[in-house]
Amino acid sequence: MHLSSLLEIATDALGDRVAVAACAGGALTYQELSERVDAVARHLAGAGAERLVAVDVNSEAVPIGLFGAARAAIPYVPVNYRLADAQLCAILERAAPGLAVVEPSVPPRLGGGVPGLSLLSRDEFLAADGPARVHSAEGDPEDPAVLLFTSGTTGEPKAAVLRHRHLTSYVLETVEFMGADPEDAALVSVPPYHIAGIAAVLSSVWSGRRLVYLPQFSAETWVDLAAREAVTHAMVVPTMLGRILEVLAERDEQLPALRHLSYGGGRMPMALVARALEQLPHVGLVNAYGLTETSSTIAVLGPEDHREAIGSTDPAVRHRLGSVGRPLPNLEVEIRDPSGAPLGAGAHGEIWVKGDQVSGEYLGRASSVSAEGWLATNDGGWLDEAGYLFVEGRLDDVIVRGGENLSPGEIEEVLLSHPAVADVAVFGVPDEEWGEAVAAVVVLVESADVDEDNPVDEDSLRAWVAERLRSTRAPARIEFRTELPYSETGKLLRRVLKAELGAGATPTP
């Protein structure tokens, strides 16, 4: 299927319902959204644009751009405007030729501009129209719908290619058409260049849930907007949730309309999940795991799973609060060893996935999907007996200590289960004797009681890990900090810590 068909079908069924709330010029109904989309598509076709690039914050220009590009049969290419100038230029050179909707700060940063890329402000874009007729013929599901550049800081920027058939397959298999109640509203605070920002548009439009855009995330404005628009659904990355809960507590605000809060895009400390359950008892929590290359979510831990896990005395069931739930029914997920052989329940290996929403394709490169349709995610993990998936992080982060492969995720999980540990990052640092040694940076919970007889120190945390895993997994170095570095989309920046500790910035204990 094609993204244009999604919007067309939804508009036929829901024409007068509000599709996008709180826009610059008031709300947009499905009918009005479709009209804007057609106008933008006419403009793109008239200008002969080959791609629609967006270097902007969140607004109604995101759904209009995404569907407008689809209607004009060109890819939509959202780019992170916060990138350093040189990196932004490098990515825009790869994204060209085409037309770019840019945030006001962007043009001066591009020096003499980018060859082949004409720039438009958001206001110009939202008012754009053109004389060209746009064919009403069904679009080709094979065409690329979205190109998403990866956030890597080294090497040439890579752009994941998501074709119409990948994205529509995800929507058709996971979202009930018109499944939303008329009052449902989704607050989108993840940036448009994140796959979750794209998925939010498609899922909301298909289900009939109105989109509410927060231009840029801050916990205060998020809470303000959620209250004002009576938001029922929201997706946040882990760093956002902690700050939101703090603001809610300070204001004694409950957000009574909120029913559904999903989180993903990075590992969520279990203590934070427990706090959210306690602070927002009327809200169903959803943990989602997915990759850009899989058109977002491939596994979900639903509200029932959360409640069952937190209320259980069975350690295996309780442990599932730290899982990403079960794979979507339309997908296959396997854990495999380094030779590619499938492993059974409980065995640790690499997560592989197969399904119609899996792209695994990068611009200008051969597809990384096997002939049988499997994609190796480069994430380590395991499945429990009941089929719950546990993600242990990127395999690139694996620590090789004296020839033994250690998973940082496994060690982090054990440290996080310590009542005094709020957050932790585990990684390898160079070591003369072992090649690599296990290092941990730990954030203690603020209210951690200072127990004179049992202080929480390096030795006690080391013993905690050694008792539960093996002594080789106990961190040789532990440093305490008040917070860990995260990217704005909630990814723990292990490499930053690794560089700091690896460079010997702190004395070895």
Binding site: S5, S204, H260, V300
Partner: protein, 102 residues
Amino acid sequence: MDLKPGSRWASQVCATEVVVVRASTEPVSLECGGHPMAPVGEDRAADLTLDPAFAGGSLIGKRFADPESGLELLVTKAGEGNLAVNGVAIPLKEAKPLPSSD
């Protein structure tokens, strides 16, 4: 009938419209209310009437799948007729709604 994924079809005897979600493995005839469906936007035959044997009705948002050919449809507009493939009514595909993750 070229029932490719994403193609939209309308009943000739009621308001039902569907979109093809999954293609069939072999060529089939897609019918609603007892008569072949036509591409959305095309003229419908004037002289056809709803066959009472296929008047169970179709509900918007529901999925129907033909176990024989693998053809899968989503109802995008409700109507009085029910969906059939090669003269045999096709069953509703029950799906437990997934929690929203976006």
